[in-house]
C-alpha cells in the first residue's frame, strides 16, 4: 500500500515540508535561498502551487531542462512534415534531436516528407569567424535542387547564430523572393535565449505568426469548402500517434479537423487554420501564444482540453461540444456512450492491480497536470509533481483543477532533489524523462518515460487510455522489481517514514 493513503494529510504535509528542508541543506546558502522558492507543499484552496517558475536554472545543479532550440525545432516546428527544418549552426543540436521525439507522420520520407531527416549547416570555424549567411544561401539552393518537393524551409538557430551577428531574416526574405514567394521561416531560437524550452515555443509561435500567417493572402484560400464544424487541433505533437487517437474522436462526434499542430502537420494545415471555428488546445504551454493570436486577429475562440483518461476525455468532449450546436452535442454523447464499454473493461482489468498505487511526476508542458486524471481513473494517486519549464499559469491550472492537498511540488527539479524525494517518499511509480529513467530503475523504482511514452503510445483518447493502463500495470507489476536484491543480501528495508 502506498504511504500516502495510509497517512493523514497533516502527516504528509509535515513530512513533505521536512523533506524540502532536508534537500535544501545540501546547497550553498545562496543557492538554497533560490531553490527554496521552487519547492512547496500544496495547500488546498490556494490559487496556485506556491512556487516560483520560469526562472533561470542554477548553474551546476543538474537541471533537467533543455533550451529554446529544443522548444522550437524539437517541439513546435520539427513535426511539420512537408517542410525542411535546418538546424543552423554546428552539428550537435540537430544530431541529438534527430528522430528521437517520435512525432509520427505519414509521407514519403526524403521526397515529400522530412521529419526524420537531419538537415544541418554543420558550422565550421570559418563560418563562425566570417559568418554563416553565405553558407545559408547555398544551403537553401542545394535543398531546392535536391529536395524539390519540399513545401517550405525553416531555419532553426543554434547558439552561435545570434552571437556572430548573422542576418538570417534577410537571407530568408531574399531567398523567398527568388523562389517565387516560397515559405522560408527564420527562427531565432538560439539555445541561450530564455531559461528553458519554453521561450523556444513562444519564438516558434511568433515565427508562424510573422512568416506564415502574415503571408497568407485573402486569395490563397484553403482548397476545401469551410463548414461550421471545422476545428484545429493545437499543441498535439502526435507522439506515438497521440493526435490521431484524438482526431478520431473529434471526427466521430461530427467535427471536422482541418489542421494538426504540429504532429503529422503540414504547411497547408498551418495556413488553413485561420478558417477554423474553434481551436482546441492540448498543450497549453507550447501553443497558447498562437491560439491567443488567432483569437485576437481572426476571432477564433480556443478551448483547452485534456484527452488523458476517460474522466477528462468525457469532460473535454462535452466542453468542446459546448461551442457547437445540438448535432455536435449529441455526437459527443454518442462517442462517450460508444467507448464506455471499452473504458469499463480497461478499468475492470487494470484498476484492481493499480488501486492505491502512488506516482511522482516530473515532465514538460502539460503532462505534470494533464495525466493526473488518467492515473486517478485507475485508482492511483499522484503524490508529487513538477514542471520542467512551466509558468505560473500552469501552476494555477494545476492547483485549481488537479492536485490534492499535500502534494509535493517541485519546479525545475534538480537531479539531487528528485532522487532524494523519490528515495524518501518511495512512490510505486515515477514518470519522467530518459535522463531520469535509469536513475530510478537502478533504485528499484518502476518508471515510465512520460515524454516519449517509453516508445509506446498513443496515450491520448480512448484507444490511448487502454495502452496507458496496460503500460502502467506492466511497469509497476513487473516481476523484475522483486529481484533487485540478491536473496542472500535481503534485509528488511528500513522504512524511512513510518507507515503501513
Amino acid at each position: 500500500m502506498s504511504l500516502a493513503t495510509t497517512q493523514s494529510i497533516a502527516e504528509i504535509k509535515a513530512r513533505n515540508k521536512e523533506l524540502i528542508q532536508e534537500v535544501l541543506r545540501v546547497y550553498p546558502e545562496k543557492t538554497a535561498k533560490r531553490r527554496a522558492k521552487h519547492l512547496n507543499v500544496h495547500e488546498v484552496g490556494k490559487s496556485d502551487c506556491g512556487v516560483k517558475s520560469n526562472l533561470k536554472s542554477i548553474p551546476g545543479v543538474m537541471t533537467i531542462r533543455g533550451c529554446a532550440y529544443a522548444g522550437s525545432k524539437g517541439v513546435v516546428w520539427g513535426p511539420i512534415k512537408d517542410m525542411i527544418h535546418i538546424s543552423h549552426g554546428p552539428v550537435g543540436c540537430g544530431q541529438y534531436s534527430w528522430g528521437s521525439r517520435r512525432n509520427y507522420y505519414v509521407g514519403t520520407t526524403g521526397i515529400d516528407s522530412f521529419v526524420t531527416l537531419q538537415f544541418t549547416s554543420d558550422f565550421q570555424e570559418k563560418d563562425i569567424v566570417f559568418g554563416g549567411d553565405k553558407k545559408l544561401v547555398k544551403i537553401i539552393d542545394e535543398i531546392q535542387e535536391l529536395f524539390p518537393l519540399n513545401n517550405g524551409i525553416t531555419i532553426q538557430s543554434e547558439c552561435p547564430i545570434g552571437l556572430i551577428g548573422d542576418d538570417i531574416e534577410a537571407v530568408s526574405r531574399a531567398k523567398s523572393k527568388e523562389y517565387g514567394g516560397k515559405t522560408i521561416v527564420p527562427v531565432r531560437c538560439e539555445g541561450f535565449r530564455g531559461v528553458s524550452q519554453s521561450l523556444g515555443h513562444h519564438i516558434a509561435n511568433d515565427a508562424v505568426r510573422d512568416w506564415v500567417f502574415d503571408k497568407v493572402t485573402p486569395e490563397s484560400k484553403p482548397t476545401f469548402e469551410p463548414t461550421p464544424y471545422d476545428v484545429a487541433i493545437i499543441g498535439d505533437y502526435n507522439i506515438g500517434g497521440d493526435a490521431w487517437s484524438s482526431r478520431i474522436l473529434l471526427e466521430e462526434m461530427g467535427l471536422r479537423v482541418i489542421a494538426q499542430w504540429s504532429g503529422d502537420g503540414s504547411l497547408a494545415e498551418l495556413e488553413a487554420t485561420p478558417k477554423a471555428k474553434l481551436n482546441v488546445l492540448h498543450c497549453y504551454r507550447s501553443m497558447n501564444y498562437i491560439s491567443r493570436h488567432m483569437e485576437e486577429k481572426f476571432g477564433i475562440p480556443w478551448c483547452e482540453y485534456n484527452f488523458f483518461g476517460p474522466s477528462k476525455i468525457v469532460e473535454s468532449l462535452r466542453k468542446i461540444a459546448g461551442y457547437f450546436d445540438d448535432k455536435i452535442k449529441e455526437g459527443a454523447e454518442r462517442v462517450i456512450a460508444k467507448y464506455q464499454p471499452l473504458v469499463d473493461a480497461v478499468i475492470a482489468k487494470y484498476r484492481p492491480r493499480l488501486e492505491g498505487k502512488s506516482v511522482m511526476l516530473f515532465v514538460g508542458g502539460l503532462r505534470p497536470r494533464h495525466v493526473i486524471g488518467a492515473y486517478e481513473d485507475l485508482g492511483m494517486e499522484v503524490v508529487g509533481t513538477g514542471y520542467e519549464f512551466g509558468h505560473n499559469d500552469d501552476y494555477q491550472r494545476t492547483a485549481q483543477h488537479y492536485v490534492k492537498d499535500g502534494t509535493l511540488i517541485y519546479d525545475d527539479v534538480t537531479g539531487y532533489e528528485f532522487e532524494r524525494f523519490v528515495e524518501k517518499i518511495q512512490p510505486d511509480l515515477v514518470g519522467s524523462g530518459i535522463k531520469e529513467k535509469y536513475v530510478f530503475q537502478k533504485m528499484g523504482v518502476p518508471f515510465r518515460q512520460m515524454h516519449s511514452w517509453d516508445y509506446s503510445g498513443p496515450y491520448h483518447g480512448y484507444d490511448g487510455f487502454a495502452i496507458f493502463a496496460r503500460d502502467m500495470d506492466m511497469a509497476i507489476n513487473s516481476p523484475i522489481w522483486k529481484k533487485t536484491k540478491a536473496p542472500w543480501k535481503e534485509v528488511p528495508k528500513p522504512k524511512l517514514l513510518a507507515a503501513e
Partner: protein, 519 residues
C-alpha cells in the same frame, strides 16, 4: 472500434486498422495539399539515379544525416571514465540535456553531467559567474572527486577563458584550491565527438602531469613497467574495456586504463543508484606518466593526446579499432614486445577458435559486398576484418574522417585483392551514402541505428555496429575487440546473412527450394 482491454493494440497495430487508415487518407486528401503521387514517384525514382548522385556529391554547404556528433559529447564520455568525476559543460544548458539523453539512449544507463546554464546575460557579460556558482553547487551537491570542464559552442563563441575562470572560482572558494578541475576547450564547430574525447583526455592528463594549471609541481617521470591503454570514443566501451583488462591480466601486464568508463555505463540494478562507479583513479591518472608506453586503440581519437604523452618520454602506439585476426595479432604482439611478456597459450587458443569459425563460415561471406559508415577508426577496423573474411568493403564513409584517413583507408584497400573496388569517402554524410547504395548496390550495410532509414529506402540489410545504437539492446555489453570480440562481430554479420537468405526463400508454394535447414 479495434481497441480492447483484452488485447490492447499499441501503435504497431492500432493505426494499421481500417478506421485509422481511412482517417489518415482523408486527412491527406482534404487538408495536406498533397503532391501528385505520380510526381512523388518520379522524384523518388530520380533520387536513385547517377544523375542525382552527381548533384548530391556536388553539395558544398548542406549536410543531411551526418554520422557524427559534436565535441562536448566526446568530452563527457571521456570524463566519466575517471573515478567519481562529474563532467561540467560550460555554456548553454540545452546541450547537456542532449548529451545525457544521447548517452542514456545508447547505453540504457544514467548519464550524469552538469551545465553552467549560461543565458542571454552571460552571452553579453561572459560566463564567469556561472562558473563560480556552478562549481560551488556541483561540488556541494554531488560530492565529486574531480570536476572535468568542457565547453559548448556558446562559451567558445564568446571566448570564455576556462583556465582563468577556474582560477578565479577557486579564489572565490567555489571549490578547495587543491581540488582537481581539469578543463578542455571543446568547440563544436571544430572536428567531432572524437576530437572532444581527445581534447578532454589530454586536458585531464595535462592537469595531473604538468602541474595542475600552475598550482603544483610538474611530475617527474620515473619510468616503470606499466602500460597505459586508451579506448577512445567507443559505443562498445563496456564490453571492450573489460575484454582488454582480461587480456592484460592473462598476459600478466601491469596496466592503467585511461578514461575507463566501462563500469559507469554498466551499473547493476540492485536498489542503489551509483552516480559514479569505477573509473581510472586520480592517482592512477597521475601515475600514468611513469608508464613505459601508452597504447591508443583509436588513432583519430587521440591525435593530440598521444603526441602529448610521447613528449613526456613514453613510447606511444596507435591502432585503428582493431577487429579480427590480424589486427588483434598486432595488438597482442605490441603488448608482448613492450612488456616483454609472452602471449599466453590461452590467447593462442582463442585465436585458433576465431580462425576456425571464420573458416567454417567463410563460404557465406566470401565475395559479399559491404558498405560501412561510422567513426574513422571503427570504419578502418571493420573494413580490415571484412577483407580478412574475403568480403569487399565497397563503400567506407566517415563524416568525421579527413584526408589523411582517406589515404590510410585507400592504402588498406591496396593491401588486399578484395579491396580493389573499394573506396573511402571522408566528410560525407548518409544522404551521400544513399546515392552510393542506389547507384552501386552492395549486399549489406554496417552502421548505427540511423542506418535503418537507408535500409528502408534502399533495401540494403543493416548490420548494426557503431554508435549510437538506440533500437537494439545490450550489444554494447559484448566486446568487439580481442579474438572473442572478433567472434561476436562475425556472428552478428552471419546472423544477418542467414536471416536474409531465409527471408528471400520463405514463400510457401513458390520458393520451397533453398529454404534449407542446414546452412
Amino acid at each position: 472500434m479495434p481497441q480492447s482491454a483484452e488485447h490492447v493494440l499499441d501503435h504497431f497495430e492500432l493505426f494499421r486498422g481500417p478506421e485509422y487508415q481511412q482517417m489518415l487518407a482523408n486527412k491527406k486528401k482534404m487538408f495536406e495539399n498533397p503532391r501528385d503521387p505520380a510526381e512523388v514517384e518520379r522524384i523518388r525514382e530520380w533520387t536513385k539515379t547517377p544523375e542525382y548522385r552527381e548533384k548530391n556529391f556536388a553539395r558544398e554547404a548542406l549536410t543531411v544525416n551526418p554520422a557524427k556528433a559534436c565535441q562536448p559529447l566526446g568530452a563527457v564520455f571521456a570524463s566519466v571514465g575517471f573515478e567519481a568525476t562529474l563532467p561540467f559543460v560550460h555554456g548553454s544548458q540545452g546541450c547537456v540535456a542532449y548529451y545525457r539523453s544521447h548517452l542514456s539512449r545508447h547505453f540504457k544507463e544514467p548519464s550524469s553531467c552538469v551545465s553552467s546554464s549560461m543565458t542571454e546575460d552571460a552571452a553579453v557579460f561572459g560566463g564567469l559567474n556561472n562558473m563560480i556558482d556552478g562549481l560551488a553547487n556541483s561540488y556541494n551537491m554531488y560530492k565529486p572527486k574531480m570536476i572535468a570542464v568542457s565547453t559548448t559552442c556558446m562559451a567558445e563563441v564568446i571566448g570564455d577563458d576556462l583556465n582563468a575562470f577556474i582560477k578565479t572560482s577557486k579564489e572565490k572558494g567555489s571549490v578547495p584550491a587543491d581540488f582537481d578541475v581539469p578543463f578542455a576547450h571543446t568547440p563544436a564547430f571544430v572536428g567531432s565527438h572524437v576530437t572532444g574525447y581527445d581534447n578532454a583526455l589530454k586536458g585531464i592528463l595535462e592537469h595531473f602531469w604538468d602541474g595542475k594549471a600552475g598550482t603544483a609541481a610538474k611530475l617527474e617521470r620515473a619510468p616503470n613497467k606499466k602500460i597505459n591503454l586508451i579506448g577512445g570514443f567507443d559505443g562498445y566501451t563496456v564490453g571492450n574495456i573489460r575484454e582488454i583488462k582480461r587480456i592484460f591480466e592473462l598476459m600478466g601486464i601491469h596496466y592503467t586504463i585511461l578514461a575507463d568508463n566501462s563500469d559507469v555505463f554498466d551499473t547493476p540494478t540492485d536498489g542503489e543508484f551509483r552516480m559514479y562507479d569505477g573509473g581510472t583513479t586520480l592517482e592512477d591518472a597521475a601515475n600514468a606518466v611513469h608508464a613505459k608506453a601508452t597504447i591508443s586503440m583509436q588513432q583519430w581519437c587521440t591525435e593530440k593526446t598521444l603526441p602529448f604523452i610521447a613528449d613526456h618520454g613514453q613510447e606511444v602506439v596507435a591502432f585503428n579499432y582493431p577487429v579480427g585476426v590480424s589486427a588483434t595479432d598486432e595488438f597482442l604482439m605490441a603488448l608482448s614486445r613492450i612488456s616483454g611478456k609472452d602471449i599466453p597459450e590461452e590467447l593462442a587458443r582463442e585465436r585458433g577458435r576465431l580462425v576456425d569459425a571464420m573458416a567454417d563460415s567463410s563460404a557465406h561471406i566470401h565475395g559479399k559486398k559491404f558498405a560501412i559508415y561510422g567513426d574513422p577508426d571503427l570504419c578502418y577496423g571493420l573494413a580490415a576484418f571484412l577483407l580478412e573474411l574475403g568480403a569487399e568493403p565497397i563503400h567506407v564513409l566517415s563524416t568525421n574522417g579527413n584526408k589523411a584517413w582517406e589515404e590510410k583507408m585507400q592504402a588498406l584497400f591496396g593491401t588486399s585483392p578484395f579491396g580493389q573496388n573499394c573506396h573511402a569517402y571522408p566528410g560525407r554524410d548518409l544522404w551521400h551514402m544513399r546515392s552510393l547504395l542506389f547507384t552501386e548496390p552492395v549486399d549489406f550495410l554496417i552502421g548505427n541505428t540511423y542506418g535503418k532509414y537507408l535500409e528502408r529506402d534502399t533495401g540494403t540489410p543493416l548490420i548494426r555496429i557503431g554508435f549510437p545504437i538506440f533500437d537494439r539492446h545490450h550489444h554494447h555489453r559484448s566486446p568487439v575487440w580481442g579474438y572473442q570480440g572478433g567472434m561476436n562481430v562475425l556472428v552478428k554479420i552471419l546472423d544477418k546473412i542467414f536471416d536474409e537468405i531465409d527471408k528471400k526463400t520463405n514463400i510457401a508454394g513458390k520458393t520451397d527450394y533453398s529454404f534449407d535447414i542446414i546452412r
